[in-house]
Amino acid sequence: MQKNESSISFLEKQFQEKINNDIKIEPKDWMPEAYRNNLIRQMSQHAHSEIIGMQPEGNWVLRAPTLRAKKILLAKIQDEAGHGLYLYSATETLGIDRKEMIEQLQQGKAKYSSIFNYPTLNWADIGAVGWLVDGAAIVNQTMLARGSYGPYSRAMLRICKEEGFHQRQGYEIMAKMMAGNASQKEMAQDSLNRWWEPSLMMFGPHDSESTHSEQSMKWKIKVESNDNLRQRFINKTVDQAHHIGLTIPDKNLTYNKETRNWEISPINWEEFWNVVKGNGPCNRQRIAHHTKYHNEGQWVREAALVFAKKEMEIQ
């Protein structure tokens, strides 16, 4: 018993040293169970976000206003599905399978990014999602690419390249609408008004309130604080908004010359937690949609399995 305990503490020490020296942890390496579980939680949540995010964007695929816009949106959603697939595989290296992760999602045991619990109500929302949501994702994922778990870090590097394209196409939609007629401008501004605060919430609660932050930083699952990342996003985005004539929906927005930061009003965390708890405008809709089509596809997956077995028997 005693020997066992000391061997674990030895392994833990070794593990932490590796992390301190920026050596990536690989699937076969020893890792504390809490590290593994923390990563499973975070990576599967990330994978689910890619997949659930297909819904609000898919909501406009059939109504995209030009052939070019339709092609770009379809391609973008495909990228997100690809990210989801890739992240599910990366998470599987930690000893959980996709089926189980999907069950957790559908049972509400696993979360996904709360931003996707808001509806896409006009075409400009497709612009806002690309510009703000993918824009925030880039800031976050660039940080995650420096994380300690090898498969996750590599997945982030790969995915970030595509997110850049997503962000640009979203901003382009906004810019075009701001250069358009009065109702297009109105749609664009309306869209920013609705998506601005939720996109700031994507970085999570203030570091002082964040339950997983401290341990995650020690293990380098994340390497920068939520508030830092949020500020970087705000500074980048405010300038982009002004550049095309959009107004940030915050009366207290001020530029601090000393810190060179844009300062904002306090964020409405009550709303954030309310949506996290499942009471956002689309929480139920998103999971019901996922579950419905997953169940409807059951007979197809079954048929493919039976066919594959028959094929094996013949060979």
Binding site: P65, T66, Q298, V300, E302
Partner: protein, 253 residues
């Protein structure tokens, strides 16, 4: 417009409309596929088809007034002006139904593009050659699923057989011709569609045989696509697809 140009314009619209409407239908599968992989596959085919549609519309605009764009042709024509075949506008139904629809069309497109790759018109020839690579993949993807479903479970077999029976009456429309064809056939720009009917049917028979499903015996034929006579479904597809362009005339997106 001289008569050849007029015929070419109409012919391009047919090719473009078929691709666009089927592409639009496939896009409905976005986030609804039976697996993530299949969600990707179906929307990828959709993307191919919409790309092909765009190319054919762009070629069509070379025969129109200077300021007409591919988007004008896609988003500002009404249901009686669309000349796609009635097969492609049929609702997706379940996965088997979508696969069957895709298979029947892709087999047709495969033979048509193979023939058009020898067109005396360089643009048609180029677009068909390029499109053929994609269409070959669509044919492969749909025929493999057809075989899988036919040889899978009782339920999947029943569904794929139902789809074949139900969609069969719309297949004859793909081989309909009018004066546009007559004129373009004379100049070796296109082909007599009756020459690809037998190769099309042979492919269908062959794959159905491997899939152990029966060739439908339905003699009903629902035709009219190239005359702009459609089923009731098309109007609804256009309503949704054209909504923004119609609601904001002249806006740039």
């Amino acid at each position: 417009m001289n008569s050849t140009n007029n015929a070419l314009y109409n012919y391009c619209l047919r090719l473009a409309d078929n691709n666009l409407i089927l592409g639009q239908r496939l896009a409905e599968w976005c986030s609804q596929g039976p697996t993530l992989e299949e969600d990707l596959a179906l929307t990828n085919i959709s993307l191919d088809l919409i790309g092909q549609a765009e190319s054919f519309y762009e070629f069509a605009t070379t025969f129109t007034e200077a300021n007409c764009t591919a988007d004008d042709l896609a988003f500002l024509r009404s249901e009686r002006e669309f000349v796609n075949n009635v097969l492609v506008e049929q609702p997706n139904g379940d996965f088997a139904y979508t696969i069957m629809k895709q298979f029947l069309f892709s087999t047709f497109a495969k033979h048509l593009y193979t023939a058009l790759a020898n067109s005396s018109n360089q643009t048609i020839c180029g677009l068909a050659t390029k499109g053929l690579k994609e269409v070959n993949y669509h044919y492969m993807h749909s025929s493999q699923w057809l075989i899988r479903l036919g040889n899978g479970t009782d339920k999947s077999k029943e569904k794929i057989q139902f789809a074949a029976n139900d969609l069969w009456c719309f297949t004859k429309d793909m081989f309909e011709m009018n004066s546009v064809d007559t004129l373009l056939i004379e100049q070796n720009i296109t082909i007599n569609l009756s020459t690809i009917y037998t190769p099309w049917k042979n492919d269908i028979e062959q794959v159905f045989k491997i899939a152990t499903i029966d060739l439908p015996t339905d003699t009903n034929k629902i035709i009219g696509g190239i005359k702009g006579i459609h089923t009731e479904h098309l109007g609804h597809i256009l309503c949704e697809m054209q909504y923004l362009q119609r609601a904001h005339p002249g806006a740039k997106w």
